[in-house]
Assembly symmetry: C2
Amino acid sequence: MFADRPNPDRRSAPLGGLSDVMDRFGAVANFQRDAEIYAQGEPVIHLFRVVKGVVRTARFTAEGRRHVGEFYYPGDLFGLESGPDHDFTAEALTDCEIRVVKRNAVRAAIGDGELDLAILGALHIELQRARAHMLLMGLRGAKEKVGGFLLALASHSPAASVELPMGRQDMADYLGLTIETVSRMLTQLQSEDIVEFPSVRRFKVNRPELLESIAA
Amino acid sequence: MFADRPNPDRRSAPLGGLSDVMDRFGAVANFQRDAEIYAQGEPVIHLFRVVKGVVRTARFTAEGRRHVGEFYYPGDLFGLESGPDHDFTAEALTDCEIRVVKRNAVRAAIGDGELDLAILGALHIELQRARAHMLLMGLRGAKEKVGGFLLALASHSPAASVELPMGRQDMADYLGLTIETVSRMLTQLQSEDIVEFPSVRRFKVNRPELLESIAA
DNA sequence: CGGTTAATTGAACGCATTCAACACGAGTGG
DNA sequence: CCACTCGTGTTGAATGCGTTCAATTAACCG
């Protein structure tokens, strides 16, 4: 679901010169919780990287149903879109510090080839996430989906206790479930002692092997 | 779901020199229906392009559940993976003619930059498909999913009558439904005169606007 | 401490699944 | 040409699970 995030800052290796350019030419913008970073339908002009906080992309269907695309963590590049316009809206899930740079500026600084290469790497990561997300949504039951979600979160967090920056509604919209079902599954997983919630926004995996067997 | 496929052969524009190289250095392989083109877990070495027929990628979960990734049509590039190994198995859905080339050969012929650029374009398309697929699976009801699937198929086919190269089970595994549910939804959509099935593997959209409103 | 939002829990419903039977078409051989 | 079979698709009935709507509790902040 997320890029490899054992190392909190991966400016160096995979992104090559891009991150240097972002650091040199990019501006840093701060967004408050729930602030919009860019909107669905806007033209794709910039590249974004999370410095601090967590970003969520989302989309509204015609009937008002919300679909959460992905969550982006510090070090992650986002705002990559295939078309000329954004398909998703990006919002600050928590208070955020975002580094922004115009694609043209990058192009001018490091050339097309370098930019392509950098975007290539980011696209690979993005595709991986999308496939992992699809796999999650393809699981049979709600318990499997929620379990898989927690597992993915935990597997990218070195700490014993994992923070949940997103609320239940975000999880629900990410997994294609209702908020009530998510809540029920969380309590169920907890009652089976597979995970443990010291607080609403923090959990610990007690039985990783069981969690993995659930998420299939 | 599919790349822009109004023109059946898009060797020219978006892939640049890659397709030329594939034509020059690539071999053409023929696969019978259900033959394996590459397997989950195998190292990523080649690039593939569909010449004739339809290809399906799929994956088996630990519990034996099958998940269909995508369907690839003539002109489509496939076999792009982020990691060193294939996450999915590729199989010939129908009898196929596939053009195969070693990535190294392409690299030697047109250089890293060109290869990157070509893969970049293909990755964009792949990401778009993955997102469209996710959107489909995120829809509420089975009718919405099946309707959306048919709509996507129809929207990429210029002909009035659209062929369904895949069976009901493939649709089910693509949408995360059971084969019975898919069948029921198809008959329901037909009974509402939204679509029409002259034969099991062929359909026609009678009310595009209704179909679109269903797929949201 | 109230006031507000988020999260949990409960009960009834509806829809997709499950298990089973049946229909249909293609291919084969009598 | 019919009978047979096999694979695939459709239909039926009952179950189960996620949803829906509603009420309660918990957490956060003044």
